[in-house]
Symmetry: C2
Subunit: 336 residues, 2 copies
């Protein structure tokens, strides 16, 4: 097995050249000089084998998604991706595995314009931790607390693919091999929403977003809690991911299963955001220009629009409306 230094040098070096990087990989720390006017957004996320992905998931997929989930947090703040650090724990220094992992990682990092400036490798159960750093224009960050009564509620992309992939991987439903492979692909090769989010903040005046990691209801719960508002969601307007839509139309999942994935399925890493109705046209232009699918799925309301006593508590401040009915809320997904 090659030494740690050579492995890191051979496979992970050379991706640390970027504006603001005064010293890349190779010393005790990287050194960066962020732009003087900027505010930095910091986030870290871990993926553990058997917990966040199934054993045997292609390493290319893992490299892509380990970075993608962190980019998703940057997008949720409207931050431009700048630098990241990688901490990789793996059972062996398998070179072919590492090269595929790195290929996935760097295919996405090149697309997103983020530089790998540091990291380390250890022996152990397969786990990947990335810390990502982005820049925000001071005062323009998208916050969970930024929703205002009267705002439209939007989501990017389609929902429920990761939930479908997990359910299929656990053997709880049986998908066709073709659909199963597509569900896996689409759950890992996530689109990057950072440019859209940064321009949403700068051009459309958006001030509120979150990324979908705990499921639509769970993450909308964070928005209503932090913003002290209530939200109505029009269930029939929820965009299903293409794979989930096909599974539904071909009878491989039921209506009920599909709705469950769209409302509560975790790890879709799409952007949920709020915007005043007078920005609808600007939003449409931005979304069309960047080819980002955007769906208007509900409305933010004042807590006074609910009977006293029911608002403020997570879940109870969300109304799921379908036709003339209001659906009951299940508790959101949590990691413990």
């Amino acid at each position: 097995m090659a030494g740690e230094f050579e492995l890191i040098q051979r496979i992970f070096s050379g991706h640390d050249k970027a504006p603001g990087v005064s010293l890349g990989i190779g010393d005790d720390c990287a050194l960066i000089r962020p732009s003087a006017a900027g505010e930095l957004a910091l986030t870290t996320d871990t993926m553990v084998e058997g917990r966040h992905f199934f054993k045997g998931t292609p390493p290319y997929y893992l490299g892509w998604r380990a970075l993608a989930v962190n980019l998703s947090d940057l997008a949720a703040m409207g931050a431009c991706p700048r630098y990241f650090l990688l901490s990789l724990t793996l059972p062996s220094g398998d070179q072919a595995w590492l090269e595929e992992f790195a290929r996935g990682l760097f295919d996405l990092s090149s697309q997103a314009g983020i530089a790998l400036v540091g990291g380390n490798m250890s022996k152990g159960e397969l786990a990947i931790t990335i810390t990502a750093i982005g820049e925000v224009i001071p005062g323009q960050a998208l916050l969970r607390s930024g929703a205002q009564p009267g705002d439209d509620l939007y989501v990017t992309g389609g929902l429920g693919c990761s939930g479908l992939h997990v359910q299929s991987g656990l053997g709880e439903i049986k998908l066709s091999p073709e659909l199963e492979a597509r569900a896996c692909h689409d759950s890992f090769i996530l689109p990057c929403r950072t440019e859209f989010a940064a321009r949403l903040a700068a051009e459309c005046g958006c001030r509120c977003a979150i990324d979908l990691s705990d499921g639509l209801v769970g993450d909308l719960g964070h928005i209503v809690e932090h913003s002290k508002v209530v939200a109505s969601v029009w269930v029939d307007k929820l965009p299903l991911s293409p794979v989930l839509a096909e599974a539904l139309s071909s009878g491989q999942v039921t209506e009920e299963q599909s709705l469950e994935h769209a409302l509560y399925g975790g790890c879709d890493y799409e952007l949920l955001f709020c915007l005043t109705p007078d920005r609808r046209a600007q939003l449409q232009d931005l979304a069309a220009g960047l080819k980002v699918p955007v769906s208007r799925i509900g409305r933010i309301e004042s807590p006074r629009s609910r009977a006293a006593g029911t608002a403020g508590k997570e879940g109870s401040a969300i109304r799921l409306l379908q036709d003339d009915r209001e659906l009951a809320i299940k508790p959101g997904f949590e990691h413990f």
Copy 2:
């Protein structure tokens, strides 16, 4: 088991108030506004159970050391600690364990003046990843490449304690219970060298340092390689850690074992640095003022002082001198 959010909130929140933190824990990212004139130093390090520490190590020790090894990297750049992020993977949400872990972590973070601004928890094999961010005065960072022929070579503290602890934990030697407990304590409750290092840069004009993670010979190898110099180490001047010194004097380890730990034992996290001889008095004042033990252990020389062909390669550019003999070099410790 309590939900992830409540656990994090209860145990890890409230340590994110610090100058420059515009948004702490609780959104998708933390937001910081570093001082405009500063350069940021970024580092990340992971500790995995069974690899970097034995199963059953007290959680207080783990919390302290997980941060300490990252502070050590900041010290090695002369950076002032500012912010850190924590990624914790653990088999269960054991509250007593988490509280002790947090107590060790925050005892050190308070002392070092570094704020926890973000993190996450996952289920899995016990592993702790911290990413730390410090500030450096631009152009004053301590670099591996900063050694100059003629410089004195110094090390802080004492060497070989972690090597002794590991050898004892593996059952390769038998220490008295009292010494075994002290070796474990001193391997985890590491001193913080960040203030010393920052002032070494600012007040003594030091430009070269590294922290000892791969052992003295291994890490000195990085300095000579990056600085394109050679180094002589006076083996009899190497400061032994108090525990190793006592193990030696009481006959619990041999001279040979002691030397092995001091030269090649990893994870001492002391500072190895170079300084021109005209700064000796200033260094002495600084070290005395901060009560940091400092030992002069060798000298940096020009590669021309070695026969052509032997310099430049790691190891061969280091001379270990004892009395009139030159000791042969073993390959340094590496993680793979």
